[in-house]
Symmetry: C2
Subunit: 176 residues, 2 copies
């Protein structure tokens, strides 16, 4: 079997932050709009597996409702603990993790969390990258891309601007 595909779907500030320094996401509210999810539900419906960074996983656990029912869940972490929602904890080089996910039956993996995304980017395993750029400069925070990383070109697939000022950029890996 080929490796599963790894897709990123993330919101950033214009200066490239995915969260405030303390993890805060309140600034996302500026583009909240009833009936508009900026393509998230359609994206999520196409994924069979989530691979989350540990911090992202812990954040999601704090939500009132588990947002990923029916999805295979893996957490990219070296820390221990008791997995919930059927999660498996995986560590090691991204390629080894990708092979393990493939063996478990994963075909389309939603990759989330800044460090996890950067690790898979560095290993050239990110196939698809959707970035929703919000109309704000945060000035500081947690970056999507943790420099230094290898240089790599992308192919723009689609761009779309929304009334609240969000711009969604969708890229794929060349040659996919």
């Amino acid at each position: 079997m080929p490796l599963p595909t790894f897709s990123v779907f993330v919101a950033t500030s214009l200066d490239g932050f995915i969260a405030r320094a303390d993890g805060g996401l309140d600034w996302l509210e500026a583009v909240e709009c009833p009936g508009e999810d900026y393509g998230y539900a359609a994206f999520l419906a196409g994924m069979d597996t989530l691979l989350l960074g540990r911090n992202t996983y812990e954040e999601v656990l704090r939500l009132p409702e588990w947002p990923y029912p029916g999805k295979r869940i893996a957490v990219y972490t070296t820390r221990g603990g008791e997995p919930r929602h059927g999660a498996v904890f995986l560590a090691g080089p991204p390629l080894a993790v990708a092979l393990r996910l493939e063996a478990d039956g994963a075909r389309r993996v939603y990759l989330d969390g800044g460090r996890t995304i950067s690790a898979f980017w560095a290993a050239d395993l990110v196939d698809e990258l959707t970035i929703s750029v919000l109309p704000v400069v945060l000035g500081e925070g947690i970056r999507l891309f943790h420099a230094p990383l290898p240089e790599r070109p992308l192919v723009l697939e689609e761009t779309k601007g929304y009334p609240r000022g969000l711009v969604r950029l969708r890229y794929r890996r060349p040659g996919r």
Copy 2:
């Protein structure tokens, strides 16, 4: 007279770099396309003055031909030296520089250079921001936004994708 307006027109990588760590701009060639300037000539025609950072000014001086004939040129620098092309060297807080430019007759100022842009951003003097995002992750280099900076929202005015994968985003300051 009101202060002049300050406009930025800049190309960045998807991870927010305006140049390689050594100042290199070779990666811009990936989107070069005969007859397509991504709106630059029209933007430049609307500006009467350029305010350049010192490094950017020195880079431009090395070009075979001076690209800004007929424009008022100011350089934001504390270093000395012999100005060329009628440039004036200005230092001090951005607001003082803006007042000086206004007194000199500047109405529409094209602001260029990472440090200069960040200094004017920090002083809330950037009125218009056009960012052309190239389809590449450089991984490291010189950033457009030098964190930490004050948080500030923007208003999206326009977004346009081009065949070579460049996406131009145009923002203005709220309330302008």
